[in-house]
């Protein structure tokens, strides 16, 4: 070993030992004060949620409007609206009903009922894909009025089947059939009067299964969130705070806070201290902008690093989530039949009707500057198929004062595009003529583009794409958060992709390094000389 390397090694060892000792001392101090000095952000959050129990002034089971035999969904809705007479107007204006983003840039028409496309299930074809419509909160897609029970019903029954069977048994008319009809009506009535604010199951029926299956769309929302443990989500954990979705997704005039695509979930990040009527949709709403203990360095991060970046170290921690979907591989048959292959995580890695898919568990997010808005392209926008197309991407940069570093799931796709018009295509997937049934690209693309009213040249190929999902659920317990070193390190830093600024530990400025080493060496030489001096003078001091 060269003497230079030897000195360098020795210095490194000394420094590491120094940091280690400092670490132990500070940890000891933290442990000592943990019980007595709680982080103010936690105290504030506890105060914000201390009133947990809801109370009602109405027992719906006793309500005269609901004391009737219901033979259709429309009759149930009419009964609800006979008292809640503004609800329909309000709900008809919400994105849950319209499936259109009301803040789309001019002419863009974002939303499932607009021209939006994604890189997993691709398109809802302006609400003409019946498969997608199963998640529209109406009795029969958009045609038969609002189904209030989709969100407010606490007892789940198959209403369509119940109404059909009730009608059949009433018509049959024999004693046994009439008894069955009575039983069915009892079930319907029970479901109609067992109502309340939306529970996790109400929201999860659609939001856990977005994109056509459990965990397909979001990495931080899947069926595991129906009854999660605290280790999966500190807020929703049934062994902890046991929040429902609407605890944070507060609602005004049936518009639910929290949508983060064309516009941020909240225009400003206010806490309840500043405004007691603010939504509870951001972390700061309850935890404030300085949530950690006063001495904690973490408080200095909150203006530029989103809470989620540290507090959601991995997503899909219980169930796997889909990370890529290659539609170009769809259509293969074995012995003339469609087939399916399951992978090690128990999920389909190949389906003839869908193509090749990759599923992952415990996924480390990717980090981007993000000001709360996401820029998306629609089926109308012209693309350059040589590139990987960002179907959606976070807006914001380091220079944007509203932007912070935020964790994302990035889903990779390979999806059809129009070779002549250079636009992404929206195939019709479900139904008798959809791709899932016929496995015929030509037909499904023609029908799908007809449905959304955009031209299709008839020539298609596949293009690589990406799509981002902000990660905000699955907040881990504090002992499992991302450690400082996972970002502040030279190798494998979580923030390796974020350039244009100096980050201690991750980045190196040669001049600063040289000055630092010189200071360290000078200090060692000084201490050594001083020590030697004391030795040679036998520790004697000059008597005054």
């Amino acid at each position: 070993m060269q003497p230079r390397q030897l000195i360098r090694g020795a210095l490194k060892t000394l420094l590491t030992a120094g940091f280690f000792i400092l670490g132990i001392l500070s940890t000891g101090h933290a442990a000592e004060t943990a019980d007595t000095d709680e982080a103010p952000g936690r105290v504030m959050a506890r105060q914000a949620i201390r009133e947990k129990e809801h109370w009602n002034t109405t027992d719906h089971a006793m309500h005269p409007a609901l004391q009737q035999n219901f033979t259709s969904g429309a009759e149930i809705t009419a009964a609800c609206l006979s008292c809640h007479n503004e609800a329909e107007n309000q709900f008809h204006r919400s994105i849950h009903w319209t499936w259109k983003a009301d803040d789309s840039p001019e002419g863009a028409e974002h939303g499932k009922a607009g021209l939006s496309v994604n890189n997993f299930c691709i398109s809802a074809n302006r609400m003409k894909d019946k498969g997608c419509l199963s998640c529209h909160p109406g009795w029969n897609g958009v045609e038969d009025g609002i189904n209030c029970l989709a969100c407010h019903g606490r007892k789940k029954i198959n209403f369509k089947e119940a109404f059909e069977d009730y009608a059949y048994f009433m018509e049959t008319g024999d004693e046994e059939s009439l008894q069955m009809a009575t039983d069915i009506q009892k079930d319907i009535h029970e479901a109609v009067v067992t109502i309340g604010n939306p529970e996790r199951e109400n929201c999860g029926t659609c939001h856990f299964y977005g994109g056509g299956g459990d965990g397909v769309k979001h990495g931080d929302l899947d069926s595991a969130m129906a009854k999660p443990l605290k280790t999966l989500d500190v807020h929703m954990g049934i062994d902890g705070q046991n929040f429902t979705c609407v605890r944070c997704h507060t609602t005004r005039l049936h518009k639910i806070a929290g949508r983060v695509y064309t516009a941020p979930a909240a225009s400003d990040r206010k806490s309840l201290i500043e405004d007691d009527l603010t939504t509870k949709i951001t972390c700061e709403s309850c935890h404030t902008a300085t949530p950690h203990k006063t001495v904690s360095k973490a408080n200095d991060h909150t203006d530029r690093v989103a809470c989620q970046s540290c507090h959601i170290p991995y997503f899909a921690r219980v169930n796997p989530t889909k990370m890529s979907w290659d539609w170009s591989k769809a259509g293969d048959r074995k012995d003339g039949k469609a087939y399916t292959i399951k992978g090690p995580l128990g999920k389909e890695t190949y389906m003839s009707i869908k193509g090749e898919m990759v599923w992952e568990k415990n996924v480390k997010p990717e980090y981007f500057w993000y000001n709360g808005s996401i820029r998306s392209i629609t089926a109308k926008d012209v693309i350059d198929p040589i590139l990987t197309i960002a179907v959606s991407q976070p807006e914001g940069s380091r220079d944007d004062r509203n932007a912070r570093i935020y964790p994302f799931k990035v889903h990779h796709g390979n999806q059809p595009y129009d070779k002549i018009n250079k636009t992404l295509l929206a195939p019709l997937l479900s139904g008798p003529n959809g791709y899932f049934t016929l496995m015929d690209w030509k037909k499904s693309l023609t029908l799908g583009m007809e449905a959304i009213g955009l031209p299709y040249s008839g020539q298609f190929d596949f293009v690589k794409t990406t799509y981002v999902f902000p990660t905000t659920h699955m907040v881990a317990p504090k002992e499992n958060v991302v450690s400082c070193m996972e970002c502040h390190q030279r190798e494998d830093s979580r923030l390796v992709n974020l350039a244009g600024f100096y980050m201690p530990g991750r980045d190196r400025v040669k001049a600063v390094d040289i000055i630092g080493w010189l200071v360290i060496m000078a200090s060692i030489v000084g201490v050594s000389l001083h020590g030697l001096g004391r030795i040679f003078t036998n520790g004697k001091r000059k008597e005054g």
Binding site: N158, D165, Y168, F169, E176, S177, M180, D183, I184
Partner: protein, 114 residues
């Protein structure tokens, strides 16, 4: 000659069996069967013998031939709730069989109990 007679008898027996099964399946009322099947588990749940009022076995858990064998032998042990199953009339059993058979795994419309 004896061989031919035996083969013919066997052939007729097979054909009659199939016709019998088909007629039996057609004879019941599928809708009534669905509710009778659910009622068994609702009653069983109410007396605290099972944890869910949803039937434990869905129609698509077996093929049509398997359902036929189960109801031919009338061995309902795997369903649990013996008390309720023993109270079912022949007509109710036929209805339940018709429902399960019509939505078996290899039927045109396999179904789960929801």
């Amino acid at each position: 000659m004896i061989k031919k007679i035996l083969l013919s008898i066997f052939g007729i027996w097979v054909v009659l069996s199939f016709i019998g099964v088909a007629m039996a399946a057609e004879g019941g009322n599928e809708r009534k069967g669905k509710y009778s099947y659910r009622k068994v588990y609702k009653a069983c749940f109410e007396r605290g013998a099972v944890e869910s009022e949803k039937p434990s076995i869905s129609p698509d858990a077996k093929t049509q031939a398997q359902w036929t064998r189960v109801f031919d032998k009338k061995k309902f042990d795997e369903f649990g709730c013996a008390e309720e199953w023993n109270k079912l009339s022949e007509a109710e059993l036929l209805d339940i069989y018709t429902y399960l058979h019509a939505h078996a795994a290899d039927s045109p419309s396999p179904a789960k109990c929801k």
